[in-house]
């Protein structure tokens, strides 16, 4: 029996009067990788940012409906608690340029003023960097600045930074669109490892990526959740003609 970790009930998101996410109902099971795909401007990123309340940071952005995290509505919770439970990785790698690699990993503790003994910090840093397959590459240069790394390494550092907070869910907003093909495949490999411990929601406009990394796929079109099913079913036997048109490349 799979347990639901996130359940979206009639979720709507707006930019001013612009209704960008329309009545989304969706259940996400624990320890699965969910790909969210759709053409540009279909509301997939907005929906993702709604899950950890990042959406409302944009002036004029509002939302209603419910997004339940373990049965608790994140729209009712304080955003800080939501974001501690739901980590996020962005489109462009954004390590803190003023912090070392080591400090970047524990940034969630460091910048929140949570004091940890050195030994515990060492463990968190090594564990998190190992999880993102970066430990061997950077273990000798932990004191260097995060911006010293290559783009792909920076993105894995950002994933490590999110993982270090031990969240339940990790959100990825087109995490490989700014990376080269080799870094992309490294990050994609990570998804298989990460979903043992976390639930992953990955926004991508790369269909092949969705097919490669996810267990389930959601297709958004014009702000609506058109179809949500097993990735295999979605790519071989989609029910909705819009999904069919999208995956056969009739529009993008």
């Amino acid at each position: 029996m799979e347990s639901t970790i996130i359940k979206s009930v009639g979720y709507n998101a707006y930019f001013g009067d612009n209704h960008v996410v329309k009545n989304v109902n969706m259940e996400i099971a624990r320890n699965k990788a969910i790909a969210v795909m759709g053409p540009s401007g279909c509301g997939k990123t907005t929906f993702l940012r709604g899950i950890n309340r990042m959406h409302e940071l944009i002036p004029g952005a509002t939302a209603n409906g419910q997004i339940l995290l373990d049965g608790e509505d994140v729209l009712e919770m304080h955003p800080i608690f939501v974001r501690l439970k739901i980590g996020m990785v962005f489109q462009r790698p954004n390590p803190f340029p003023n912090l070392s690699i080591y400090d970047n990993v524990i940034a969630g503790y460091l910048l929140n003023g949570i004091k940890l003994p050195k030994s515990e910090k060492d463990i968190i840093v090594e564990k998190s960097l190992t999880k993102v397959a970066l430990w061997n590459e950077v273990k000798d240069s932990l004191v260097k600045k995060g911006s010293f790394l290559s783009g792909g390494q920076q993105q894995r550092l950002c994933i490590a930074r999110a993982v270090a907070m031990e969240p339940e869910v990790l959100l990825f907003d087109e995490p490989t669109s700014a990376l080269d093909p080799i870094s992309t495949s490294t990050v994609e490999d990570l998804f298989h490892e990460l979903k043992r411990n976390y639930t992953l929601i990955i926004v991508t406009h790369n269909m092949q990526q969705a097919a490669r990394v996810s267990d389930l796929t959601a297709f958004f079109y014009m702000g609506e959740l058109v179809e949500y099913d097993d990735t295999k079913v979605m790519f071989t036997n989609p029910k909705d003609t819009r999904t069919q048109n999208y995956i056969t490349g009739r529009f993008s």
């Binding site: 940071l57 002036p59 800080i80 974001r83 996020m88 803190f96 340029p97 003023n98 969630g108 929140n112």
Partner: protein, 284 residues
């Protein structure tokens, strides 16, 4: 054939114009430096002979008259002005950059721009009306507040412009880790923009260090070493003004010496600013 010839002669003409224009740009760029070189040359020539140890460690009343009281007074007044204006200025700059769209920001920013354009003598008169007249005596602190008002717009605008250059992704990285607003500002935004903020602060200090008008009727000036900020205090620009208008050639020489010291101070501040900006620059 003639068409081709036409084109090549046109191109030759353009190359000529281009060369002429380049020369013009270099000429004007150089002519900007000339006044500075003249000022430097003149002040060093006139003031260098005065710069002796005794000139720097005595006040005006001693037998070997010096300008120590003005140097220390200038330092003290500028330091107090900084203590007032730096926190307010930086916080205000942060506010402007974090609330770009709001009406309140628009009007406050306009107010800051206007404040920057207020003549320094007017600022001095205001400080006089607020702080000198009610207490019936000029005071160093009144001078500090006048200078602080002059520093504010420079610090605010440079802070705001520095922070506006930081990518939004940095703020988002902070928020996504569950940081509250004040921690995003203090732990992420400000450290990343620190070199720009500091250079604004240093430039504002360099700017007011030489201001005379706001001090004329606030800090006023005195002839001996004084550390009481509720009493009048001498400053370098005020001392130069006083000595230069007395008509005594000996005293005029002292004004040149003081001018050299002041110039040197401001120059050092500017060099220091450049160094800080380079050293603390965060590579984005």
């Amino acid at each position: 054939m003639t068409a081709k010839k036409n084109i090549s002669s046109k191109i030759k003409f353009r190359i000529g114009i281009s060369g002429f224009f380049k020369g013009l740009v270099i000429l004007f760029a150089f002519s900007c430096v000339i006044p500075l070189l003249f000022i430097l040359f003149y002040i060093i020539q006139a003031g260098a002979s005065k710069i002796k140890w005794s000139f720097l460690i005595h006040d005006e009343l001693s037998d070997s008259a010096g300008i120590l009281h003005a140097i220390l007074g200038s330092f003290e007044i500028v330091i107090f002005a900084s203590l007032i204006s730096i926190p307010i200025g930086i916080l205000c700059g942060i506010f402007f950059s974090e609330n770009k769209g709001s009406k309140f920001t628009y009007w406050s920013r306009l107010a800051v721009d206007i404040l920057q354009g207020v003549p320094s003598v007017v600022v001095g008169v205001i400080a006089y009306a607020w702080l000198v007249r009610p207490f019936h005596q000029p005071s160093a602190i009144a001078g500090s507040i006048a200078l602080a008002i002059m520093m504010l717009p420079i610090i605010i605008r440079s802070t705001e412009e520095t922070l506006n250059l930081l990518p939004d992704s940095l703020r988002e990285a902070g928020y996504a880790l569950g940081l509250p607003f004040h921690r995003v500002v203090l732990k992420v935004i400000v450290p990343c923009g620190i070199s720009g903020i500091l250079s604004g602060v240093m430039l504002s200090i360099a700017r007011v260090a030489g201001e005379t008008a706001p001090l004329l009727f606030t800090a006023y000036g005195c002839t001996f070493l004084s550390n009481d900020i509720t009493k009048p205090m001498e400053t370098l620009p005020h001392l130069i003004n006083k000595f230069a208008t007395q008509g005594d050639p000996k005293v005029l020489d002292m004004a040149w010496g003081a001018a050299l010291i002041l110039l040197f101070w401001v120059l050092l501040l500017n060099i220091f600013t450049k160094l800080i900006t380079r050293k603390w620059k965060v590579q984005l």
